[in-house]
């Protein structure tokens, strides 16, 4: 079930998947984190300019995601090697997943793939049971920030305990 813009909608069961997260072939996917909210951040490409970069911002905002015990996964069609270099350069410690082969397969399943051959800039928040709680598509050149994610996590957490670390 997807929205008119194609992106998966709230109330849908999130398709499970795993994707390579490291050059040694370790695979990560949302199903490994049942019981915690999972934020999937699809983005067009590694290496966008620093001060407005979405993944760089999310690393800085990590303590806020931690308050909701949320897991953050970045996803683009870049290779694990690009992701590794990008993560090192920007101090990114959360997993960046490579939707690289078959190219864009997971992004397509979420309705977050573009005709330019990149992931769309799309945010999908899964509740602890793996259902889509919130989703948002942004123009590729617009960094959507983290406020929508935090609002969604707050709503999920309103009937659950907020974790203090």
């Amino acid at each position: 079930m997807t929205d008119s813009d194609g992106l998966i909608r709230s109330g849908s069961r999130a398709p499970d998947f795993t994707l390579p997260a490291t050059p040694d072939g370790r695979r990560i996917g949302p199903g490994q984190f049942r019981g915690r909210p999972v934020v999937l951040a699809f983005y067009p490409a590694d290496w966008t300019p620093v001060c407005g970069d979405q993944m760089t911002l999310y690393q800085a905002a990590m303590p806020e995601f931690d308050r909701y015990d949320a897991v953050l996964l970045g996803i683009s069609v870049d290779s694990v090697w690009s992701h590794q270099a990008f993560a090192e350069a920007r101090g990114i410690a959360f997993p960046l997943l490579a939707d690289f082969e078959p190219k864009g397969e997971v992004s397509r399943r979420y309705g977050a793939y573009t005709s330019q051959g990149q992931s769309a800039r799309a945010l999908v928040v899964l509740d602890p049971d793996g259902m889509v709680a919130w989703s948002q598509l942004s123009p590729p050149e617009v960094n959507p920030g983290a406020d929508g994610i935090l609002d969604a996590l707050e709503e999920i957490g309103s009937d659950r305990r907020v974790v203090t670390r």
């Binding site: 929205d3 813009d5 992106l7 909608r9 709230s10 620093v50 001060c51 407005g52 970069d53 979405q54 760089t56 911002l57 690393q59 800085a60 905002a61 303590p63 806020e64 920007r90 101090g91 990114i92 709680a133 919130w134 989703s135 948002q136 598509l137 942004s138 123009p139 617009v142 960094n143 959507p144 920030g145 983290a146 406020d147 929508g148 935090l150 969604a152 709503e155």
Partner: protein
């Protein structure tokens, strides 16, 4: 919940007495800047904002809030905390100006020299920054920014509406004049 195509455009954390404010308290236009002392785009905006305050001195006031992106700017957090140490001594804006005028000298040694240059006690300030006495204050600004949709630096809000234009002088003056006439 599916949010349509939109970007949050409003300041969610109102200006209050804990903010750093430069300009007349009753100014009809308030610019809130979320900045990072090590960000070169903030450095580029700094003289333009100063010039806006000079040219529209009766109209506009500037509020500065911290938004250090520490994972790419290793000195941004300590610079922000030093500015807070200066604020405790009523010297926030002097320190703010020094930091933006010396963006290539934010390492601990040069930063301490800057503190000394301003006539502030470098050892005391260093000790406060080392024990992160102002980290919560800086964090509060950052979190408020995140909740207002700040997605990079500098982000400006003009009378609580996000400024989508550039940061050169003509664009900033136009934004202020539009807000003053609104």
């Amino acid at each position: 919940m599916t949010t349509p195509l939109q970007v949050t455009s409003r300041l969610r954390t109102p200006v209050d007495e804990t903010d750093h404010v430069r300009g007349p308290a009753d100014a009809p236009v308030t610019i809130v800047e979320y900045g990072d002392f090590q960000c070169r785009y903030c450095g580029a905006a700094y003289p333009n904002l100063a010039e806006v305050l000079r040219q529209r001195s009766a109209t506009v006031r500037l509020v500065y809030r911290h938004f250090p992106i520490a994972n790419v700017h290793p000195y941004a957090e300590s610079a922000a905390e030093v500015a807070e140490a200066a604020a405790r001594r009523d010297r926030f804006w002097d320190m703010h100006d020094w930091l933006y005028e010396h963006q290539d000298q934010l390492d601990p040694v040069h930063l301490s020299l800057g503190v000394e240059q301003l006539g502030l006690p470098p050892d005391e300030v260093s000790a406060e920054v080392e024990r992160h006495a102002y980290a919560d204050r800086v964090r509060r600004d950052f979190v408020g920014g995140i909740r207002s949709g700040v997605n990079g630096t500098p982000t400006l809000f003009v009378n609580e509406i996000r400024h989508e234009g550039g940061h050169d002088l003509p664009e900033l003056l136009a934004a202020v004049d539009a807000a003053a006439g609104a």
